[in-house]
């Protein structure tokens, strides 16, 4: 895993990119790839690469080129099927100099052009620079595991794995939070690509490629999710056959991710079905011990230790644990936000930040996780809630149907909402529109958007009539209305939260903060295609979630893991920032002047929120709204403090192992007094 960055000229007459700017970008990405740095520069373009060496440790340096040095690539990620693609490309006459998957990318582009990316089974963010054609190609994997941000600025296009590298490379790039990005965050829980949370910055959408050439810019999807559109389509076999196929596909996926690495691979273990199954299959394909890593919580409500240890006994792993308390979350949170680079409404990323530190300390660079299973196999409560609410919507006057909600949320039985009248208000609102897109998500989106009442009048005025939900629902695939309701819900869940939150704020960013690469067996191309083709009842059978996966896991994971009720991964939210011993930064961020300066929230409303949260104190129950509001206000304040107000740091100590500088004078004896800096100059053939 790595970090990439670069800049190209979009117009004539600009000076060539500066090596200092490229090095500054690398400085901002150092955590992503501390092992080696590399640069490429010519008259119009600069590419930069920070490497975390995992495959082909000896010769996998980047930037890397084709045979004649006209096509250059920087790449963050893994192409798991690189061996198969390489054999195919060699058959087509391409000659390889290294063993790396990076080299496969340049030859695949030469051989197949835009058709190359759909052949990659992997996670990637790629920048290819075709110097003679003055063409930049950017591409991002299907589901958005690897990030890529863009900012056009003063006649150039800047791009990087993280926004902080854009700011470091182009310090005169304006830094400001984007009103629509904030409205999306305080609706969907995150921005949805291409929207970013910073003005003037965008995120390349998952499964997209962008070609920037003298002829103009083209952005298109090379892949998009598909589901059956009518009964005769999709998987036609039995439930037992489906489980068998899922098990085989998942095992293949784990094998590719466990074995295709030149360093040891570990595994995260939450105690739930998904990560337990990955660990069990990991043991099976590896045939020997490996390291597992778990988060324990001091607060019993969130803790899953007993289940984790049961799996450890089964797979006989070298197990590592970290116990996370409320203060740990509060202390880590500023760094968590700086890495996530977006407001957070939950603290759940913080324990994952602490966990990747444990992995790093154990000397492991790669971990498998269970992320993605709930999206792909229909595991979320929201899918079950959507099913009940649609069932109710078909008979809106029914008093029996809404009682199914109590099966989803047992707490409802003890809450005033158990009463029919209130249940109708909270869950039944708009149930007559049960056929419309976004129906299942509206409860969540509306509840979250209500927090926008904390926004300042000025921000609300700037937002005017922007309706981010309507904007999203107006931009759905043409086939969307023909998909089953579950497929529609799965699509929207992945579109709004997979790349923007789970794979970034709880994934890439927290992992890469400590130079750890995550690999996601449930997001394997073939497994996703198979899962999407399955009938909805194989995923959500009645109200029993991930049915086919449980069947596939039978005999592989302990019985107790199969039988346990699904526990969503959560961490203490508002309670992490209240009670005794709260770090000083909390009060500083909530101070009236700081809130006013950030310009997002009304200081008076924040003061009332803070007063209420303090009164609720450390132990008591916070409402969902208070939890999201406090965490959202704190994270937005930290984001403003660290990425907007503070000028970007420009590293000056980046020493590149690889420097291909097409502007450098031909190599010769160094002038007296000038020392080489360990860089190699000129064509890589000289390396």
């Amino acid at each position: 895993m790595c970090g990439i960055a670069g800049v190209i000229a979009l117009q004539e007459g600009l000076p060539p990119p500066s090596l200092d700017d490229l090095r500054a970008m690398l400085g901002a990405l150092r955590h992503r790839g501390p092992d080696e740095f590399g640069l490429y520069r010519d008259e119009r373009a600069g590419l930069a690469h920070a490497r975390l060496s995992i495959v082909d440790l000896a010769t996998g340096q980047q930037p890397l080129s084709n045979e004649d040095g006209t096509l250059w690539v920087v790449f963050n990620g893994e192409i798991y099927n690189h061996l198969e693609l390489r054999a195919e490309l060699e058959g087509l006459g391409h000659a390889f100099r290294t063993r790396s998957d990076t080299e496969v990318i340049v030859h695949a582009w030469e051989a197949w052009g835009e058709g190359a990316f759909v052949r990659f089974n992997g996670q990637f963010a790629i920048a290819l620079w075709d110097a003679p054609r003055r063409t930049l190609v950017l591409a991002r994997d299907r589901l958005g595991v690897r990030p890529l941000y863009l900012a056009p600025h003063r006649g150039r296009l800047w791009f990087a794995s993280e926004v902080k590298a854009l700011f470091a490379g182009a310090p005169d790039l304006p830094r400001a939070l984007d009103p629509e990005g904030l409205a999306e965050t305080f609706t969907f829980w995150t921005v949805v690509p291409p929207q970013a949370v910073f003005q003037g910055v965008s995120e390349l959408e998952p499964g997209h490629l962008r070609v920037v050439s003298p002829a103009g810019t083209v952005d298109r999807a090379f892949w998009s999710p598909r589901y059956p559109e009518e009964p005769g389509q999709g998987f036609q076999g039995s439930a037992a056959e489906a489980a068998e196929r899922v098990r085989a596909a998942l095992e293949d996926s784990v094998r590719l991710r466990m074995l295709r690495a030149d360093v040891p691979v570990g595994s995260y273990l939450s105690g739930g079905l998904d990560s337990s199954l990955v660990a069990a299959l990991g043991r099976r394909v590896k045939g020997e011990r490996f390291s597992t890593f778990s988060i324990r919580f001091e607060d019993a409500e969130y803790d899953e230790t007993a289940f984790q240890r049961e799996v450890v006994r089964l797979v006989e792993s070298d197990h590592h644990e970290i116990t996370v308390g409320r203060r740990d979350i509060a202390e880590a949170f500023p760094a968590v936000v700086a890495h996530a680079e977006r407001p957070l409404l939950r603290t759940a990323p913080a324990p994952l930040y602490l966990l990747s530190r444990l992995v790093h300390q154990a000397g492991i660079k790669v971990v498998l996780t269970g992320e993605g299973a709930d999206e792909v196999f229909g595991g979320y409560d929201l899918f079950r809630e959507g099913k009940v609410r649609r069932f109710w919507g078909r008979q809106p006057a029914s008093v029996v149907r809404p009682r199914l909600l109590e099966r989803l949320y047992p707490y409802l039985a003890r809450s005033p909402v158990a009463q029919q009248g209130l249940a109708r208000e909270f869950f039944g609102r708009g149930r007559e529109r049960w056929r419309e897109p976004g129906f299942a998500h509206q409860t969540r989106w509306q509840g979250t958007a209500a927090l926008q009442r904390l926004f300042t009048p000025a921000l609300r005025a700037r937002l005017g009539g922007v309706d981010v939900t309507a904007r999203l629902l107006a931009d759905l695939p043409a086939a969307f209305p023909r998909w089953t309701p579950l497929a529609q819900d799965q699509y929207l869940e992945a579109r709004t939260l997979l790349a923007g939150y789970l794979l970034s704020s709880q994934g890439d960013r927290m992992l890469m903060a400590h130079s750890v690469e995550g690999r996601f067996p449930f997001l394997d191309t073939e497994l996703v295609d198979l899962a999407n083709a399955l009938p909805p009842a194989f995923k959500l059978q009645g109200l029993d979630e991930k049915r086919v996966l449980k069947r596939a896991a039978a005999g592989l994971v302990p019985e107790s893991i199969l039988a346990r009720k699904k526990q969503p991964y959560r961490a203490p939210d508002a309670m992490a920032f209240t009670g005794p011993g709260v770090p000083e930064w909390v009060a500083a961020v909530l101070e009236e002047r700081a809130v006013a300066e950030a310009g997002v929230f009304d200081p008076g409303s924040v003061a009332r929120l803070w007063k209420k949260c303090q009164a609720t104190g450390g132990g008591a129950q916070f409402s969902n709204a208070d939890n999201m509001a406090l965490v959202g206000v704190l994270s937005t304040g930290l984001l403003h403090q660290q990425l907007v107000r503070r000028p970007p740091a420009r590293a000056t100590d980046i020493h590149c192992r690889t420097t291909i500088d097409r502007l450098a004078p031909p190599a010769g004896p160094l002038p007296p007094g000038q020392q080489p800096r360990g860089d190699t100059h000129g064509h890589p053939a000289a390396r």
Binding site: L412, S415, P416, V417, Q419, Q420, G421, L422, R424, E425, F426, R429, Q446, G447, A449, A450, L451, R453, L454, P457, D602, G604, S605, V606, R608, L609, K611, K612, Q621, F622, S623, N624, A625, D626, A629
Partner: protein, 85 residues
């Protein structure tokens, strides 16, 4: 303080209302996103302590609790001796 104002003050402080003018007598507390399901518990607990009443299960309906105006009407019916106009 009159009943309606006490209820209004509680909602402003506890559901961090920025502009009290936006909260009218008939503003829906649930539709407007002011009170979520846990917030409803907070509101009921407040009514019970503040006005010395017991809110029965079958009274937990939007007709009684859905807006400041409805809450005030409910309180007048429930505890006519305690609440003031």
């Amino acid at each position: 303080m009159v009943t309606q104002q006490r209820v209004r003050q509680f909602i402003i402080e506890n559901f961090y209302v920025q502009d009290p003018a936006e909260l009218r007598e008939e503003t829906s507390l649930i539709d407007g996103g002011y009170v979520d399901s846990t917030g409803m518990l907070e509101l009921i607990a407040f009514l019970e302590t503040e006005f010395g009443i017991q809110v029965a299960d079958n009274e937990m309906v939007p007709e009684n609790l859905g807006s400041i105006g409805r809450i005030a009407d409910y309180l007048r019916r429930k505890a006519p001796g305690v609440v003031q106009r």
